[in-house]
């Protein structure tokens, strides 16, 4: 059982608010992803929970115990960094065994051996145990780093963009594995990234951060379909959601609606459509096709089935169903109709 609770945490570095008034709870066995661009306060939040930074204000609880003033060692958290931090002169086996050799754990050699081999199997590195840590590929090194966190069975895993230095194929493979392991072990995990695909594919809940503030925290489906602001709406999805001035759609909308947003997969090229459009480019990705159209100066992206006959320069109309539209006011906040 491990539950992490953060209450009204703030942290300043000189004049910059790295994190302002942050509150959220990570439930036992939950995978929470903090998503945001560089400088949004993601890493600072992790470091505050780990005890590597002290908050100016607010409290941190681990299993209902106030740990705000406790040193890192007493919090029993495991940190996995972007850059693999392994002992280069140790073998993979000894890298994995090292955290278990602590006298506080009083484990026998046989017990350690069993745990290490178990984890190595889960991470598909059982045939690398005798290798030196430096004689591994990038993906294998990061597996060992994750493995070294796993053997400790900590209260919570804190991961700071652990996959971002790997190539695309490997990243895809490892995020699938990491999620599977987390579910199997029932581990509690806080993961920060700027990659929206990592967020939606692994998270039970995504917290969207902007300049140190938590804008929305919800399951991926809700963040994608029901964002509370233009900022959150534009964090997820590729190609990006369309955000256009409301008057472009020539609909009867309340005066406070300034912007209308809709996902590219909800735009259809339709001769019976309501908005005039000229096709600018078409990108065929095989499984789908991305068409960009120009609607009176606004660029709108549509994702359609490949094989349509429309050509660049053609005049067209587009249609979007009202139930697929999101409405926002002049502050870019959501308006519910």
């Amino acid at each position: 059982m491990s539950e992490i609770k953060i209450e009204n945490i703030s942290k300043k570095f000189e004049d910059t608010d790295a994190v302002s008034n942050l509150s959220f709870t990570i439930k036992d066995g939950e995978f929470v992803v903090l998503l945001g661009p560089t400088g949004a306060g993601k890493t600072t939040t992790l470091r505050l929970i780990a005890g590597l930074e002290e908050p100016d204000e607010g409290k941190i609880f681990i299993n209902n115990e106030d740990v705000t003033a406790s040193p890192p060692a007493q919090r029993d958290v495991a940190f996995v960094f972007q850059q693999y931090s392994l002992y280069p002169n140790f073998t993979v086996y000894n890298n994995l065994a090292f955290p278990l050799k602590s006298p506080l754990r009083s484990l026998s050699k046989e017990q350690i051996d069993e745990i290490v081999r178990d984890i190595a199997k889960t991470l598909h590195i059982e045939d690398k145990l005798k290798n030196k840590a430096t004689h591994l590929s990038g993906g294998e090194m990061q597996r060992v780093a994750i493995g070294r966190a796993l053997v400790r069975e900590p209260n919570i895993f804190l991961m700071d963009e652990p996959l971002s230095s790997l190539d695309a194929k490997l990243r895809e493979e490892l995020r699938l594995e990491l999620k599977n392991i987390q579910v199997q072990l029932g581990a509690t995990l806080l993961y920060v990234t700027h990659d929206h695909i990592e967020a939606t594919t692994m998270a039970d809940r995504i917290g969207v951060l902007k300049e140190g503030e938590l804008i929305q925290i919800d399951p991926p489906e809700k963040i994608y379909n029901d964002p509370n602001s233009v900022y959150v709406a534009t964090r997820l999805g590729s190609p990006k959601i369309n955000v256009v001035p409301s008057k472009l759609l020539q609909m009867n909308l309340p005066a406070q609606v300034e912007y209308v947003a809709f996902r590219p997969e909800n735009v259809s090229l339709d001769p019976e459509g309501t908005v005039d459009a000229r096709i600018e480019t078409r990108q065929n990705l095989g499984v789908e096709e991305i068409v960009t159209v120009n609607c009176m100066g606004e660029i709108v992206r549509a994702v359609i089935k490949p094989g349509s006959l429309a050509r660049s320069g053609d005049n067209m109309k587009i249609a979007v169903k009202k139930r697929n539209m999101l409405f926002f006011d002049n502050e870019s906040q959501r308006v519910y109709l």
Binding site: L176, N180, L285, G286, I290
Partner: protein, 360 residues
């Protein structure tokens, strides 16, 4: 105006065969992408078209003229490298006009051509600026302008966007394609990035281990890969492959897996040996209660408009792309239903597709 034809091209570096047995026609005005992993021979092929390497065997024709052993300067083509290099002490106008100046073109004509090119690339407002003061995107446009101004028969580009970050690359992709549509010059573009290839190519040539495996339009490459490698290299996630431990006969329209018969498009030839691969794209698999084969869910990846569901089966790990409304969780037992019309059988020995109703 240029058509490029490559005949039986082969290039050896000592014992190493970089390119072998490659045949290809690049049509006039095509944006042709050479795609493959590093070391597949795509850059060597491009350098032979440019005249920077001479082939060990085979011929290259530019507009029906045999240019196989002409030097680069004797072929009317422009080469754009991965790093766009500009003359830092010249302004935009002088950088773009430089190739004409070295050819001894009259000043008045140079400025007329420069203005024309600058308008095309939206650089007409910064002509007098120093190139070091420009944004990254504008610098790339200046380099392109310098290549365009000679009006060469063809452009050859070697990963020109490789060093850019993702967002900027997307933008330049868009601009390059737009420029190509405007001037319609034959372009051969080398990349290892499948998305770039699919997004930009009129036609794509896929190479592996020095061999040109398939050259077709993007949709055909995607839906009808002629080689197992093409199916696995294009698409994210890649095509799924299942081992078939039996002979596939001409005229058969089913294969045996898991003790039951699975419908496939009618085969128009025999397989080579009694071991073959069945290939199917993730979006052509449905998750059902009980289907063609069954397994346990290893991963569920939500992507907004759809989900990738990874299922461990006795035939290996299989990925399905399904609508977001499908609900499965890790550990669930599910069935997989295949869209039999889109199945391709690949020979077990040379890994090339067997001719069928789909693969005609």
């Amino acid at each position: 105006m240029a058509e490029i034809v490559i005949e039986d091209l082969k290039k050896e570096f000592g014992d190493f065969v970089a390119v072998t047995n490659s045949n290809l026609t690049i049509r006039d005005g095509d944006f042709f992408v050479l795609l493959g992993p590093s070391g597949c021979g795509k850059t060597t092929t491009l350098r032979m078209i440019a005249g920077l390497e001479f082939p060990t065997y085979g011929k290259i024709f530019l507009d029906a003229e045999d240019v196989t052993f002409l030097r680069a300067s004797e072929r009317d083509i422009a080469f754009v490298f991965q790093m766009f290099a500009l003359y830092p002490h010249m302004n935009v106008e002088k950088n773009i006009g430089f190739p004409l100046k070295t050819q001894g073109v009259k000043k008045s004509e140079i400025s007329k051509s420069v203005l024309e090119v600058a308008k095309l690339l939206h650089l007409d407002k910064v002509l007098k600026s120093n190139v070091s003061a420009l944004s990254g995107g504008d610098k790339q446009r200046v380099a392109l302008g310098r290549a365009i101004i000679r009006r060469p028969k063809a452009f050859l580009m070697d990963e020109p966007l490789g060093s850019l970050d993702a967002e900027f690359r997307e933008l330049m992709c868009f601009e390059l394609k737009k420029m190509h549509n405007d001037i319609n010059a034959t372009t051969v573009y080398v990349t290892h990035d499948q998305n770039e290839a699919m997004a930009m190519g009129d036609r794509i040539g896929i190479m592996d281990k020095g061999v040109m495996l398939q050259a077709d339009d993007p949709l055909t490459i995607y839906n009808k890969p002629r080689a197992k490698f093409v199916g696995s290299f294009i698409g994210s996630p890649a095509m799924n492959f299942i081992d078939i431990h039996s002979f596939v006969k001409k005229g058969s329209s089913a294969v045996k897996i898991d003790g039951s018969q699975l419908a496939i498009p009618e085969c128009h030839e025999d397989s080579h040996i009694d071991f073959n691969y069945l290939g199917i794209r993730p979006e052509n698999i449905n998750i059902v209660d009980s289907g063609d084969i069954s397994g346990s869910v290893y991963g569920v990846e939500y992507l907004g408009a759809n989900k990738i569901i990874t299922v461990d089966t006795e035939f290996g790990r299989i990925k399905a792309r399904v609508p977001s409304s499908v609900h499965s969780k890790i550990g669930d037992n599910v069935g997989l239903e295949f869209d039999s019309n889109s199945i391709i059988i690949f020979n077990g020995d040379d890994e090339m597709a067997i001719k069928s109703q789909l693969m005609n």
